[in-house]
């Protein structure tokens, strides 16, 4: 019985930890509104460029490309912005700074695994972002006329899937960041990772626009579950079965990510010799 109680207590304090972390970030986010908007404008240009280019091509083909209409392309990239917002996590490039400034040493003294700090912090930032982003999304809708008619189930799956994407990407980036503890020149590897992600995640184009071989590669990598799947869940016409198996795939990649975080963190910390305080 006491074991049960202890476990319940551990879960409760973890939930409390996450809620507090998120609340702090929500307050910070609302304090720096101008900065948040400027950052968002910079971020928005990426999907708007893709949208314009692919829509131009679709128009040249009489309005559709590979069976996808101009309105659907618009919907894809507008939903993209929302998914991208959820996909922002602690960057692996940041670990170099953490090590150099002695942040990591301080973090190691705390009783909770560092991954939880990042997960709680960035999850909290989503809320102010979401609220401030809403008018921009409406504006984009007026400009580009997306065609978006999701079923209720698709909406539900979408909201689960964007959090799934957030978890997968957080874990993967944490694992990448761990490489910094072995080599300070991990930058090149991060870059390869991000460019691969760009090409086979659905970030650049809906995966169906890619050649068949690229789609086959994408099927075996975690990337499409963080961009293409959540976007398509809302925009595309996926069957109920595809939607639910998609969520299972996300669970699988989250489980793999968690295991890797656990293992790589142990190995890295053993290797780590502190800098700073």
């Amino acid at each position: 019985m006491s074991v049960m109680n202890a476990q319940a207590g551990a879960v409760r304090s973890m939930v409390d930890f996450y809620l507090t972390g998120m609340r702090t970030q929500i307050q910070i986010g609302f304090q720096y509104r101008a900065a948040t908007y400027m950052y968002t404008i910079g971020m928005l240009s990426e999907p708007v460029i893709y949208l314009v280019v692919w829509r131009t091509i679709a128009d040249q083909h009489g309005g559709t490309l590979n069976g996808i209409g101009g309105g659907q392309i618009a919907a894809y990239y507008i939903v993209w912005t929302l998914v991208r917002t959820f996909n922002i996590v602690f960057t692996p490039f940041g670990w170099e700074w953490r090590i150099r400034e002695g942040e990591l040493s301080a973090q190691l003294l705390r009783p909770i695994h560092p991954v939880h700090y990042d997960m709680a912090t960035f999850a909290g930032q989503k809320i102010p972002w979401l609220i401030m982003y809403a008018p921009l999304a409406v504006g984009l809708g007026f400009i580009f006329h997306p065609s978006l008619h999701p079923r209720p189930l698709e909406v539900v799956v979408f909201f689960v899937a964007i959090w799934g994407a957030y978890v997968i990407r957080s874990l993967n980036h944490f694992v990448l960041g761990m490489l910094t503890l072995f080599t300070t020149r991990a930058t090149a590897l991060f870059q390869i990772w991000f460019l691969t992600e760009l090409l086979v995640s659905g970030r650049l184009v809906p995966l169906t626009f890619m050649p068949q071989w690229a789609q086959s590669i994408a099927a075996w990598l975690p990337f499409k579950w963080t961009f293409y799947f959540p976007i398509e869940a809302l925009v595309g016409a996926m069957s109920t079965e595809t939607l639910l198996t998609g969520l299972l795939w996300q669970c699988l990649w989250a489980a793999i990510g968690s295991a890797l975080v656990f293992v790589t963190f142990r190995l890295s910390v053993r290797h780590y010799s502190a800098v700073g305080n």
Binding site: G42, S45, E46, L65, A188, Q191, I192, L195, P211
Partner: protein, 262 residues
């Protein structure tokens, strides 16, 4: 004027010497540049696997646009962006006061202090991409066009510098400007495609508000036989106006700056 040039030369030498200490970074920069170019070309190939021409631009012509964008990006990342980032950081940390107490033109000083030499690798790879694009064009490029191209590149670099300066001057009012690089990087990607592709409102704002249309598309027009002399005149006039405005805005910002310890 002579003193200004002397100062520029000294700072450049210092910057080069500083960067020479970290030679391994040269290879990292080459690797990053190659990777960036490879992915951009893959994206172009993907786009042109679905179409022959994008808004009238063929794949070879778009290679030229891409090359110009990479080349100018190299110039900005090597000499403009690091200086402007340092400016905003110095305002925030209160270190700008040290610079202002020196007996030289403040705009010149804040624009010269940093040089990231290895980023110039992008200038080389951008130039190669332009050359490949030009060599694949159906028509040849004459001396006049080549000269106009180089001149317009300088105009483009100057416009982008002014744009950055205006943004960074904003730090006198908005102290925390961590988002500037993200904002610029995001918006600069617009230049990857000819400005004519974009819908009207975006095209105008990316030409006059953010001068990326002038900076990237216009030089590319010079070597793809799309350039009209009116465009050249407008570009030159616009660049002059923007330079004056940026300088005035800098002085205005400076006059409002009360210093960190005052």
């Amino acid at each position: 004027m002579r003193r200004g040039l002397q100062l520029a030369w000294t700072y450049t030498r210092l910057g080069v010497l500083n960067e020479m200490q970290y030679r391994a970074n040269f290879f990292v920069a080459i690797f990053q540049s190659l990777l960036g170019v490879a992915v951009s070309i893959a994206v172009l190939a993907l786009v042109y696997s679905h179409t022959d021409a994008l808004h009238g631009w063929t794949q070879s012509e778009l290679l030229v646009v891409l090359g110009v964008q990479i080349l100018l990006g190299g110039v900005i990342h090597a000499s403009v962006q690091p200086n402007m980032e340092r400016l905003t950081q110095d305002v925030q940390d209160g270190k700008l006061d040290f610079l202002l107490s020196k007996p030289a033109d403040s705009q010149l000083m804040i624009s010269l202090r940093e040089l990231r030499l290895w980023q110039l690798v992008d200038v080389v790879s951008g130039a190669i991409v332009v050359a490949v694009g030009v060599s694949r064009l159906q028509t040849s490029v004459g001396i006049g066009h080549a000269f106009a191209f180089l001149a317009l590149l300088l105009v483009g670099a100057s416009l982008l510098y002014c744009f950055w300066l205006i943004l960074a001057t904003g730090s006198f009012w908005v102290i925390n400007m961590w988002f500037l690089s993200d904002l610029f990087e995001g918006v600069y990607q617009v230049g990857r495609w000819p400005i004519g592709v974009y819908p009207g409102w975006l095209r105008y704002s990316m030409t006059y508000l953010v001068p990326i249309g002038f900076a990237v598309t216009v030089p590319a027009q010079a070597v793809t036989h799309r350039l009209h002399w009116v465009t050249v005149v407008v570009a030159l006039g616009f660049a002059t106006v923007v330079f004056v405005v940026a300088r005035r805005f800098w002085r205005f910002g400076l006059s409002r700056y009360s210093g960190a310890s005052a």
